[in-house]
């Protein structure tokens, strides 16, 4: 299997002592990997360090075999990201936002921009300034920006943020469709276990900056009825039973 993303002993510690410590995982083509953890467990920090928004304290990240620190452009060539709040220029229209991003990738036509706007159901609002969008619409635009270049690896940090029930289902369907039909690899973070369970085929549990486990969904659910139970089991293993 093709190794799409290799994270090796990745450590990123902030001055306040928080961050992630010795994170290692490998994503193969077509994997949909969920990073599951509570708020503050280091999911966003891990994703930021993986795509080079933050500089790792130690460890390495290779995307499509290229080191993120030394071969950034090559590593990011086929990567799409949505990390934290969508990075949108509010004084530009939805179309202009995508047009700007399209210039960093060769061969993205106007038709592709229209197509992606239609996929995220923003085609009717393409001439509207993004500043007037609701939270959900901004999230959709952020998703469109991540999908625009037809990337082979897509990194999504809490993609369901701000979306309504229909929106969440649509995003899930887009992810599953791209993974099955085009072999796109996903790394998705969420603190909602059910969301990861429905979308991903592998799951990594992150807790207080440490990766407690990295299993296939099948293995995770062998001895546990739900992913939530699996998560609680792994956390209890680490810090002992919760006393009420």
């Amino acid at each position: 299997m093709d190794k799409i993303l290799e994270v090796n002993q990745l450590t990123k510690l902030y001055r306040n002592g928080r961050g992630i410590s010795r994170l290692s995982l490998t994503l193969e083509r077509g994997d949909v990997v969920g990073l599951l953890g509570p708020n503050g467990s280091g999911k966003t920090t891990a994703m930021k360090a993986i795509v080079g928004l933050n500089h790792a304290s130690s460890g390495s990240v290779r995307i499509f075999g290229y080191d993120i620190e030394t071969e950034y452009e090559k590593a990011m060539e086929k990567v799409g990201c949505l990390i934290e709040a969508p990075a949108i220029y509010e004084f530009l229209t939805a179309y202009a936002n995508l047009k700007l991003m399209s210039r960093y990738h060769p061969g993205i036509s106007k038709d592709r921009i229209d197509e992606i706007l239609s996929i995220v159901r923003l085609d009717r609002y393409k001439k509207d300034k993004a500043g007037r969008f609701s939270l959900g619409m901004k999230q959709r635009l952020g998703l469109a920006m991540a999908l625009l270049s037809e990337p082979e690896l897509i990194i999504l940090d809490e993609p369901a943020n701000g979306l309504d029930i229909e929106g969440i289902i649509e995003v899930r369907e887009i992810i599953l469709k791209l993974s099955k039909e085009k072999g796109v690899t996903f790394l998705i973070s969420s603190h909602i276990a059910s969301e990861i369970e429905k979308t991903c085929n592998k799951v990594a549990i992150l807790h207080e900056g440490e990766m407690l486990s990295f299993d296939t969904m099948e293995d995770a659910l062998k001895l546990n009825p739900t992913l939530e139970d699996y998560f609680l089991e792994k956390v209890r293993d680490k810090r002992g039973p919760v006393i009420l």
Partner: protein, 248 residues
């Protein structure tokens, strides 16, 4: 190179999309026209005795705009493309694309410099047109053109200083405040202590005065060019280092 050019285009488009720069451009032209109207009115009232210098308007206006107006535009644009984007997180949109931080950094600087050149070019065209139409012809077209072209150099150094200061704060308001304060202080120091003026890059804001209208002494000129190049290298290197190490 393609990615760098894409970056320049994008950054310039972002600046162009902000209406304030268009408004400031209109104000720049309006100031020139206003000066023309004032002079015309005063000439009529004084029977032709009063003259505030429309004959050399392009050079007269350059003095004000190069020291006050265009630096403010540069400060605003640098805050818009650096600290504001870092503050609101939109910088991530570019940082997560397959383009190196160096190209992003250079693209932003080039776009701001282009904007400054648009303001300079508009000023030049407006004042030259006024000279041509209302003072009986343009006397020193090439001298004026040369002065405008030469003054791009100190503006570029000023831009690099603005970019460096923008790297040291996440707040665009604070960055703008620090920029204006620093620039004002440097200008005041240059005026109060003339011996220091030659060592400060702000002392060269009217760079064209050194070149135009006199024989250029070779060695002093080399030292002045070296001084500006030194400032430029320090500002550029430190600015890029901080931008590259920046955690988003």
């Amino acid at each position: 190179m393609k990615l760098y050019l894409a970056g320049v285009r994008n950054e310039f488009e972002k600046l162009r999309a902000k209406k304030k720069y268009f408004v400031f451009l209109i104000i720049e032209i309006a100031i020139c026209v206003l000066l023309l109207l004032i002079e015309t009115a005063l000439k009529r009232v004084s029977g032709g005795l009063f003259n505030i210098g429309i004959v050399d308007m392009s050079l007269v206006m350059l003095t004000f705009f190069i020291q006050v107006y265009i630096p403010l535009i540069i400060f605003m644009a640098s805050c818009d493309l650096f600290s504001t984007e870092i503050q609101d997180g939109t910088i991530k949109a570019v940082l997560m694309r397959p383009i190196s931080r160096l190209k992003i950094f250079l693209g932003k600087i080039t776009a701001i410099m282009l904007l400054a050149c648009v303001f300079l070019a508009s000023l030049f065209i407006t004042t030259i047109l006024i000279e041509a139409l209302f003072s009986g012809g343009v006397r020193n077209f090439w001298v004026s053109f040369g002065a405008y072209a030469l003054d791009i150099v100190p503006l570029f150094i000023l831009l690099l200083m603005a970019v460096l200061i923008n790297q040291s704060t996440k707040s665009s308001t604070l960055a703008m405040f620090v920029l204006i304060l620093t620039y004002t202080l440097l200008m005041i120091v240059g005026i109060l202590i003339p011996q220091l003026s030659g060592l400060l890059f702000t002392g060269y804001s009217q760079w064209h005065n050194i070149w135009i209208g006199q024989t250029i002494p070779f060695w002093p000129m080399i030292s002045k060019i070296g001084l500006l190049a030194g400032y430029g290298t320090i500002f550029m290197s430190a600015g890029y280092y901080l931008f590259d190490r920046r955690e988003i």
